[in-house]
Symmetry: C2
Subunit: 115 residues, 2 copies
DNA sequence: CTTTATACATAGATAATCAATGTATAATAA
DNA sequence: TTATTATACATTGATTATCTATGTATAAAG
């Protein structure tokens, strides 16, 4: 689909926080979930995700913890904080507000402009 | 409302192109329209708008033309091109696709997670 | 020992907002 | 004339973000 950088940027925070609201998760699986959720439209590279996770952690919206999986591979599990849950609501409000502005504009333009 | 930079960035292109689809317009008035459309939530500074307009022109999505207004002040009117109209559709598709991904995620999280 | 999948991390190029600043015209007020 | 406010366009510089490329490491399959 080739989404623009800016749209990816605008969605990364609510997307990741939203996934973590379902339970703690680690980077590699978050990428798979994003792909699944979007029906294959969004394919994040790992080099994209980790800097975002580190930023969210720095902002106090998530915490991280190293854990061993069944396989013996080490995984860094991220969990959402209370601050992170509040941020989800804020992100959701902002997104919906912008969505309504765009919808209003699109509805204006879909009407024939004579009358 | 204090929208994030990234959300402003993601909306700037569809917002401006959408406004210009209603007819040619100039920078100062586009800012007023954005404010009106958003119910006062979005207040763009002129230093934000003009670089975006220049970028859109460089991309061939809009054209510009100097005109005198009734007052005698000179205004640069921007008009959307055919390429610009096509870009609107693309922007709209991308926005809606992302919107549906987020909505799916939010609907998952609004359900109680025991069952 | 090679390849593939999993798993995390950083560096550097590129691109974008946005506050601050500058130029200029017209109207209003002293 | 001078000052202020609203209109109108433009650029600079600080900051912030993606995202490709690259690196490290473990485990399984062959």
């Amino acid at each position: 689909m080739d989404f623009s950088k800016s749209l990816i940027a605008a969605s990364s925070k609510p997307l990741i926080l939203g996934i973590l609201q379902q339970g703690p998760n680690y980077g590699y699986d978050i990428i798979q979930q994003i792909k699944t959720l979007s029906g294959g439209q969004l394919e994040w590279a790992d080099g994209m995700l980790y800097p975002v996770l580190h930023r969210l952690e720095k902002e106090g919206l998530v915490t991280s913890q190293w854990n061993q999986s069944d396989n013996g591979r080490h995984r860094k599990y991220y969990a959402i904080t209370e601050l992170g849950k509040a941020a989800i609501h804020q992100e959701q409000e902002h997104w919906l507000a912008m969505h309504h502005v765009l919808q209003k504009l699109w509805s204006l333009n879909s009407k024939t402009s004579h009358g």
